[in-house]
C-alpha cells in the first residue's frame, strides 16, 4: 500500500446530535486505510467517548465548541478532540475506570477506560477553567 499522509480538522457546536456526526466523519476519513470492521468500531467508540465528554463534562451541556482533528501517517491514525470548557482537576483520577463526577446523569465512568482499551495510546492535557484536549493514536492493519 502506498504511504498515506492526510489530515483534517473540524469545528462543531457541543450538541449531542453531533456525537454521531463526529463518529461518521472520522469513519469516512480513515476509509482509505481499509480498516477492519472491528478497527472502525474501535475508532468510532473512542471518538464518541471523547466528544460526549466535551459536551457533558467540559461544557456541562451549555453552549460551546468542539475541535476535532484527524491525522493519518502511514498506517497510524491520530485523533485529537478538544474543548475550552471546565477542565479536569485530577487527570489520573478521571482516567480510573468507574470514576465519574456525574453519577446523577447515570454516567458509568467507563469513557476513558474504553478510549484506552480501543486505542493504542491516549494522552490527556487539561487545565481547570481552560479546557481539555484528548489525543489518541491507533495503528490500523496490525491484525
Amino acid at each position: 500500500m502506498e504511504y498515506l499522509r492526510n489530515e483534517m480538522k473540524m469545528e462543531f457546536l457541543a450538541l449531542s446530535a453531533n456525537e454521531g456526526f463526529a463518529r461518521v466523519a472520522v469513519g469516512a476519513f480513515v476509509a482509505g486505510l481499509n480498516p477492519t470492521v472491528d478497527e472502525l468500531a474501535d475508532l468510532k467508540t473512542a471518538v464518541s467517548e471523547a466528544v460526549t465528554n466535551c459536551i457533558i463534562h467540559g461544557y456541562e451541556q451549555q453552549e460551546g465548541k468542539i475541535w476535532l482533528s484527524c491525522c493519518i501517517e502511514g498506517r497510524q491514525v491520530e485523533i485529537t478532540v478538544a474543548d475550552t470548557g471546565k477542565g479536569i482537576k485530577d487527570i489520573e483520577q478521571a482516567r480510573e475506570p468507574l470514576f465519574t463526577t456525574k453519577p446523577e446523569l447515570e454516567r458509568s465512568g467507563m469513557g476513558f477506560a474504553f478510549m484506552e482499551a480501543f486505542m493504542d495510546e491516549v494522552e490527556v492535557v487539561s487545565e481547570p477553567r481552560k479546557g481539555t484536549s484528548v489525543m489518541m493514536r491507533k495503528t490500523i492493519g496490525e491484525g
Binding site: S16, E19, G20, E49, T52, I55, E106, S108, F114
Partner: protein, 101 residues
C-alpha cells in the same frame, strides 16, 4: 413508542435505539421509564435487534433501567447484540450482571 415494545406475562421487551450513545439515550430513557411506570413488570428484556452502536453512555442507561426490576426480584436479559456491542458488554462487566443471549 408504539411498536417499540412488547409486553407479555409480566415481561417488558424494550427495543433499543439504532445507536445507544448519549444523544439517543436521552430519548430512550424517558420512554423506557414511562413504560416501566405504566407496566410495573417483573422482567425486562433489552432487544438490540436494531442497534448497531453503543458506547459507555449505554451502560448507565441499562443499569439505571435494571434497578427497579431487580428490586422486585425479576430477571433482566439482553438479546441480539452485534459484535461491537458484545465487546462493550464484556469490557464493562455488564455481562456479569445481565444475562446475554
Amino acid at each position: 413508542m408504539e411498536h417499540k415494545y412488547e409486553k407479555e406475562y409480566g415481561c417488558l421487551i424494550l427495543r433499543m435505539p439504532a445507536e445507544l450513545d448519549h444523544h439517543q439515550s436521552e430519548f430512550f430513557k424517558e420512554e423506557a421509564d414511562q413504560l416501566l411506570l405504566k407496566y410495573p413488570v417483573r422482567s425486562l428484556i433489552f432487544d438490540f435487534m436494531d442497534t448497531c452502536f453503543m458506547d459507555s453512555s449505554g451502560i448507565g442507561v441499562i443499569i439505571g433501567r435494571c434497578k427497579n426490576v431487580r428490586f422486585s426480584g425479576g430477571y433482566v436479559k439482553a438479546v441480539h447484540l452485534n459484535e461491537q456491542i458484545n465487546r462493550i458488554f464484556q469490557l464493562s462487566g455488564l455481562k456479569k450482571i445481565i444475562e446475554v443471549e
